[in-house]
């Protein structure tokens, strides 16, 4: 097993990057605007249902941060027909699992359950899109739960506090700068009317994508979904504001000092493009970032951890699945106490130096191969396909674009990657953060 064999192997497997669709998903749009996506995979008698609402904390009015996440919690409180925790109780009784999550651009709910209960689960989800019943007491108690969640995730975690603060600097004008869970002082003031109006105005079929994956038949699913969602009226009360942020003329350094911190950590977040702007460019950037900073075989890791032994860890990644701007996240953990400016300068220098010399066509082929293999791993299971498709559609990509992802991948060449990385190395829209004692 010598290195020479790498190139042979690349030739051997590259033809696999063919034009096949990844998921073979089928789609159907109801008159009221609800999108249904079905990924048939009958290997076990189990279905994953995910409903994706294509809004999250993005649509909260100023001063009411945390609303989208608040209502996500309250969606488990029951309806007139299925009161209290009927839904959760039903899922549990059939051996299913469930949960939900909120992000900037979407809110999603999911269940994994034995396929014979498909119709009932579809009915229950459709029912809570329109018939949620809430008491003031539900809201009062849940506010306490959410504050505990905020304390658990952020207030008692120095690293999360730093991230929250860095994002608020990076996006001075955009909702991405506000925490999804909400600022503590604003969560404390959210009341029954705030949450109920948010629900009434935005939980509409035209704002949702329903994904069913697993042991489910498309035409059967279509029939059931039409039956339970068909009568729900669409609404255009959701006004989306597209807001972008200005280019920075200054540099900002954010520091969090905490007596509990024993290990210095350096971070930097850059504002950058997203897949919704250009799939090809974002894919080239993503591949470039993986070569440069992804995992323990990246250019920066090899250089600064393996060779120069300055950091115990260094890395970065690109997150471009968003309606607005995406971001690039970098971090470094020095072996010895270091000045933050020195760390930043060193990484800048290494990035610039290595784009020309170390971002090679061979490395690109390797990353493309991995990308392709990851798309196969994504099909092992039933929840993953629903997650991938739901997230991509929620931020504004098209099903066809997702299915043909590997065709686009094939076209990415080294010049495209270098162009993106050069652009990145000149990007001044960033904020640097430091966590220390």
């Amino acid at each position: 097993m010598k290195i020479v064999s790498i190139f042979f192997a690349i030739l051997l497997v590259s033809f696999n990057l063919n034009s096949k669709k990844i998921f073979n998903a089928k789609s159907h749009k109801l008159e009221n605007g609800l999108t249904l996506i079905v990924v048939e995979n009958p290997r076990a008698p189990v279905v994953a249902q995910m409903i994706w609402y294509d809004f999250g904390s993005s649509v909260e009015e100023i001063g009411k941060s945390g609303l989208a996440h608040f209502i996500e919690h309250l969606m488990f409180k029951g309806t007139k027909k299925f009161p209290k925790n009927y839904y959760s109780n039903f899922i549990s009784k059939i051996g299913g699992s469930e949960n939900a999550f909120t992000s900037y651009d979407y809110t999603a709910y999911y269940q994994v359950f034995p396929s014979q209960h498909l119709e009932k689960i579809i009915e229950l989800e459709a029912d809570r899109m329109q018939n949620l019943t809430l008491t003031k007491k539900n809201v009062e108690i849940e506010r306490e739960v959410i504050l505990e969640e905020r304390f658990q995730r952020i207030e008692s975690n120095p690293s999360s506090q730093l991230d929250e603060s860095m994002r608020s600097v990076l996006y001075p004008n955009n909702y991405y700068g506000r925490p999804i869970i909400g600022w503590k002082h604003e969560i404390e003031k959210l009341n029954y009317d705030d949450v109920f109006n948010f629900y009434k105005n935005f939980y509409k079929p035209n704002n949702a994508v329903l994904v069913l994956s697993g042991d489910v038949n498309f035409s059967k699913a279509k029939e059931i979904v039409d039956k339970y969602y068909g009568n729900i009226k669409s609404s255009d009360t959701l006004k989306r504001k597209v807001v972008s942020d200005p280019d920075f003329k200054t540099t900002t350094f954010v520091e969090l000092k905490n007596e509990n911190v024993k290990q210095q950590v350096w971070k930097r977040i850059y504002r950058t493009k997203s897949f919704t702007k250009s799939i090809e460019e974002s894919m080239a950037l993503d591949l470039g970032m993986k070569i440069l900073a992804g995992g323990s075989s990246s250019v920066l890791y090899e250089e600064l951890v393996d060779e120069k032994k300055i950091f115990s860890m260094v890395g970065g990644f690109y997150q471009g699945l968003s309606k607005g701007d995406g971001y690039i996240y970098f971090y470094a953990i020095p072996n010895k106490e270091m000045d933050e400016k020195e760390i930043g300068d060193l990484i800048d220098k290494e990035v610039k130096k290595n784009i020309e010399s170390k971002i090679t066509p061979e490395k690109l082929e390797l990353e493309k191969q991995k990308y392709y293999f990851d798309s196969i791993y994504g099909m092992d299971g039933i929840l993953k396909p629903a997650e991938i498709i739901g997230e991509a559609l929620s931020v504004g990509l098209k099903l066809n674009e997702i299915e043909k992802w590997n065709n686009k991948l094939k076209k990415i060449n080294i010049d495209m990657v270098k162009k993106e990385l050069n652009e990145f190395s000149k990007n001044n829209n960033y904020v640097t953060g430091s966590l220390r004692n």
């Binding site: 097993m1 290195i3 790498i6 192997a9 696999n16 995979n41 009958p42 290997r43 076990a44 008698p45 189990v46 488990f76 925790n85 959760s88 109780n89 549990s92 009784k93 059939i94 051996g95 299913g96 699992s97 469930e98 014979q116 009062e140 108690i141 849940e142 306490e144 739960v145 505990e148 969640e149 304390f151 658990q152 207030e155 008692s156 975690n157 120095p158 509990n260 911190v261 024993k262 290990q263 995992g295 323990s296 090899e302 951890v305 393996d306 032994k309 115990s312 860890m313 953990i333 072996n335 390797l366 991995k370 293999f373 196969i376 791993y377 099909m379 092992d380 299971g381 039933i382 929840l383």
Partner: protein
Amino acid sequence: MKLVFLLFFFFFQSSEALDFKKLKTKSGIEFWFVQDNSIPIISLSFSFRGGSSLELQDQHGLANLMVSLMDEGTRNLNSQEFKKLMKLNGMKLSFSSQKDRIDGVFQVISSQADQGFELFKEALNYPKFSEDEIKKVKNQISSSIKIDQSNIPTIASNKFNEYFFGDHIFKRNIKGTIKSLEKFKRQDISNFHEKSFQKENLVIGVAGDITDKKIKILIESVFGKLQDKFTIPEIELFSNLSIGQQVYKMKTPQTSVLFGHPGLKRNNEDFFALRIANYILGGGGFQSRLYKNIREKKGLVYSVYSYLLPFENDGVIVGGFQTRNKSVYETINAVKKNWKSMNTRGVSKEELNNAKAYFNGSFTRNFTSTSSIAALLKIVQYYKLGENYFQNREKIINNIDHEMVNSVASKYFKTENLFFMIVGEPEEK
């Protein structure tokens, strides 16, 4: 229970998932296998009994250091070369050290099976353990130990182990200490490697796109050369678990609490009944009593749970929550109250029926991916639940009646045996 029966019937008919084969390689390694050609992936899940329990008194953290070096190069490949070949073949390999075992997962794209298994063989049998990599990985573990020191839940978990297990070896943190790591030499790591990966301590589950014949050859090529040189000492029973509470003060707005209590080994005959009782108490997601009474009714926590944790030697029940400093003791009292009610009043018939339906219905969720099938095949062997477990499981569950679960609940849930580890700044009431 008619519904459940129908489900299983359907399952036998429509899926290969339960139809596993017990295979044996040339040198006698037994493993369980499900052929699944629906996706071009092979997934392997394996465990070696022993893990951190094999560390001697002065070897604290050695198991974790050793497994962290397993993907850092082989006799013929340096770390970077090895990682590139892993990527190229769509291969994933990870090891993790636990208190009583080492767990591993290996996956490869089936067209690359030969190359992937070859790399796996090299990594498992001939890891490089180069001085450079040892130094690097020691630095990484040290950083991670320091990062843990500002993470309240992780501190709580370490402190919990330290106090709860009394003088038992399980009191030690898997990662060791910055000081204990320093002194390990290449030879220590290499000896520990040999002691950790012995054939007789191995269990394997495999699922995926490959034939019986081929997988037997590949399993033999990876594991066939392992030796059985060392006798593995038995891990002692827990004779001295702590009770009461311990406070570790830290400046934080929210306190983390972990609790523990004696439990059962996985193959104890009362295990499933206790598991069902615990599901009702604190295990069942949004359905448990702890969740309903402490989160849903009072809003005291975001999450509260309990679960059975069986080990090779013995078992415990553990749980936890985080709450703001002012409500720590109120929440502890609520946990105790619910614990006590399991002992004195037991569970209702409705709760029991719901829990049994959950355990019957949830099993098929394990069959949705090659990795979860492989993991299940391994776990059933690891806990010695028997070849017929897949057929018997439903019967075991259905035989648990109301009287039985209540007698088990009152036998095992003892409020006076609870131990609470409190990390933060709890306000006295």
